[in-house]
């Protein structure tokens, strides 16, 4: 039995993921296991997944980033505004889309740096500093779009970025080929790179160190503030990538709803993935599975036609089970 507890603490999310996958495969496999459904599962969670990877770094330092959903929406809206301006002045569609992508990434980075500045040197508690962003960035998007939508005037290039991707060789029931969309590819690449960074780089070790014992880090003459600053900048950049993914998918930005509650989904995914909210302990691949686990629950509820009012209860119960699995194991 002594081997089981540490195994569950470390791999609990994997166990929960596999268990839920099997339940779905056996219970409602004829829909759930369709390649198209699995593709949708990845597709629908790519944006929040990319954000959750960034969130993992923030939480590893013992911080939190509540601004992610609003930040993503703002970056996306700014990108589309640039795209529309560029096309209106005669820039080619392809170039305009590149400009939009650069704007989204750039503004994501800049807004993330703003968060980082407040937390690292402004000495504002991360919860408050990023709460300001959650409220403020959303308000800016609403003002920018007059409460409605920002629509892209790119009718070919941007939507094709949203629907295109790597061929898988599979086809849907209707015969259309299934691709691993660029958003999903981005999510996979970001996860792999982040996994590498946390394990193998000096920055990665610093992130863990700051989260587990900030004072010790300060005494050992390493600059904890710098690390903190950069995790928020990183989180903002991930929001920029997610903004590109989602705005290409919808070819528009809905100012009120795009990214709403993404901060909660991202934080939940990180925690389900085994990262401690108090920092210092956690892993990126856990977040990856946490995102897919959450997505699988949503998908499962619709496939099983669970009544709308009851979906929250089922979702909450599964999340609780997944976390308890790791918690009880850690205690023993």
């Amino acid at each position: 039995m002594r081997g089981v507890a540490p195994f569950l603490t470390r791999y609990g999310v994997l166990v929960a993921f596999v268990a839920l996958f099997l339940v779905n495969a056996i219970w409602q496999g004829e829909v759930f296991l369709k390649p198209e459904n699995l593709r949708n599962l990845l597709n629908q969670n790519a944006a929040v997944g990319i954000i959750a990877v960034g969130m993992t770094f923030v939480i590893l330092t013992g911080g939190i980033d509540l601004s992610v959903g609003s930040l993503m929406a703002l970056a996306a809206a700014l990108g589309l505004v640039v795209l529309n301006r560029a096309m209106a002045t005669g820039v080619s569609e392809g170039t305009a889309v590149w400009l939009a992508a650069a704007t989204m990434l750039g503004s994501g980075l800049a807004l993330g740096m703003l968060n980082g500045l407040f937390v690292a040197w402004g000495r504002v508690a991360p919860f408050i500093a990023t709460l300001v962003g959650l409220v403020g960035f959303r308000s800016l998007v609403l003002a920018l779009a007059n409460g409605g939508e920002v629509r892209s005037s790119s009718m070919e290039t941007l939507p094709s970025l949203g629907t295109g991707g790597l061929p898988t060789g599979l086809a849907s029931a209707g015969g259309t080929p299934l691709v691993l969309t660029w958003g999903v590819v981005l999510f996979l690449v970001v996860t792999l790179v982040a996994e590498f960074v946390t394990r193998r780089t000096r920055f990665g070790r610093l992130v863990y160190a700051v989260g587990s014992n900030e004072r010790a880090v300060r005494y050992s003459a390493v600059n904890a503030s710098v690390a903190k600053f950069w995790v928020y900048a990183l989180s903002g950049t991930m929001c920029g990538l997610a903004a590109l993914t989602l705005s290409a998918r919808m070819n528009s930005v809905a100012s009120g709803s795009m990214g709403a509650y993404y901060e909660l989904d991202a934080i939940a995914a990180v925690v389900i993935g085994g990262t401690s909210l108090s920092g210092g302990v956690g892993r990126v691949w856990g977040t990856f599975l946490g995102v897919l686990l959450l997505g699988m629950i949503t998908n499962m509820l619709v496939v099983a036609n669970v009544p709308v009012y009851w979906q929250g209860v089922v979702k909450g119960a599964i999340i609780l089970l997944a976390v308890l699995l790791q918690r009880s194991a850690a205690k023993e």
Partner: protein
């Protein structure tokens, strides 16, 4: 430093005095109903914050209506929660408004403040979402049950009472319940209509698209989609088109969104019809407030003015779509 402080204080003081002065005539007006002398009236307008297309439309129409009456002093505010809306209304009362037009964020929490407003003798016009007690002088509402019923009747008629239907509902709320229950009770009368699935798209395009993607995988044959609003219809449409099944089924949403009305107008086969539920109803309320207050004949007008106005929901088809199409509107 002290000089600057002094300057700031005196600025504040003068602003305060100016506020008091401009507030005085209107404060007098609020107390005396039916005063014959026309004067500069002050009207407050409080609506929910723009969190989706329809509420953005409310704000746009409110601004259009207010701009028609530059002689009225307008106090406009938007609220994302009932708490914020209550404090907005308290601020308006303190500012001595003559009338208030309110589209409530939620019914129950706003009822007590509505009664206070009424007790103060301020004209209260309530639009779309009612209070729990009849606290308003005039209540103008859209007919959510007709919304659900008319769209569902259209589906039944077009399918000749035989077919597979999917229901996409909004966020659980009274508006949603009224629409969905009305639609379901129509479908229930026709045994040939099968409701394959009923799921929530959360009044949200992206969410509706994702839910529809899954629903499409579950059911090989769908004839029609009933969506509780136009945003969700657009999301479902994207999922259907991406699955290459646009020839198999069509949609009916509602709300009067200009893009959807345009599709009906252009005879898009996926949008044979839609129903209205126009955010312009706020403009009706604003116009009524002005017309009741501006000549100082409030008491006389309220003797005959209807207490409760229900705006019918209309079925929009290619034949009549032109009259419901407002290209300049944000919604």
């Amino acid at each position: 430093m002290s000089v600057r402080c002094l300057a700031a204080v005196s600025l504040l003081a003068s602003a305060f005095l100016a506020g008091c002065q401009s507030g005085q005539p209107s404060a007098g007006g609020a107390g005396t109903e039916g005063d014959a002398a026309p004067q500069r009236i002050v009207i407050g307008v409080s609506v929910p914050a723009a969190d989706h297309g329809w509420t953005a439309g409310v704000i746009w129409w409110a601004e259009q209506a207010m701009a028609l009456y530059p002689n009225v002093e307008w106090k406009f505010s938007t609220a994302d929660t009932p708490a914020k809306q209550i404090s907005d209304l308290e601020t308006m009362m303190a500012a001595g408004v003559d009338g208030i037009v309110v589209l409530a964020t939620e019914s129950a929490p706003l009822t007590p403040i509505a009664k206070q407003i009424r007790e103060r003798g301020i004209l209260l016009i309530n639009v779309d979402r009612g209070f729990l007690e009849p606290a308003a002088d005039v209540f103008i509402e859209g007919d959510n049950k007709a919304f659900g019923r008319k769209a569902a009747e259209y589906i039944v008629q077009r399918l000749n009472g035989q077919g597979n239907v999917v229901i996409l509902e909004g966020i659980p709320s009274t508006v949603n319940t009224d629409r969905v229950e009305a639609a379901r009770s129509v479908f229930a009368r026709y045994p040939g209509i099968r409701i394959l699935d009923q799921q929530t798209g959360m009044w949200n395009r992206q969410k509706a698209m994702e839910v529809m993607q899954t629903i499409l995988l579950k059911h090989p044959k769908i004839d029609a989609v009933w969506a509780a609003d136009d945003d969700m219809a657009l999301g479902a449409e994207q999922a259907i088109r991406e699955a290459g099944r646009q020839n198999e089924m069509w949609l009916i949403g509602g709300g009067g969104m200009k893009d959807v009305v345009k599709k009906v107008l252009d005879r898009d086969p996926m949008y044979p019809a839609t129903v209205t539920y126009s955010p312009s109803m706020i403009a009706v309320g604003i116009h009524e407030a002005v017309s009741i207050l501006r000549d100082g004949k409030r008491t006389e007008i309220l003797k005959f003015f209807p207490r409760h106005i229900t705006l019918d929901v209309e079925l929009v088809t290619p034949e009549n779509a032109q009259q419901y199409y407002f290209p300049d509107s944000v919604y």
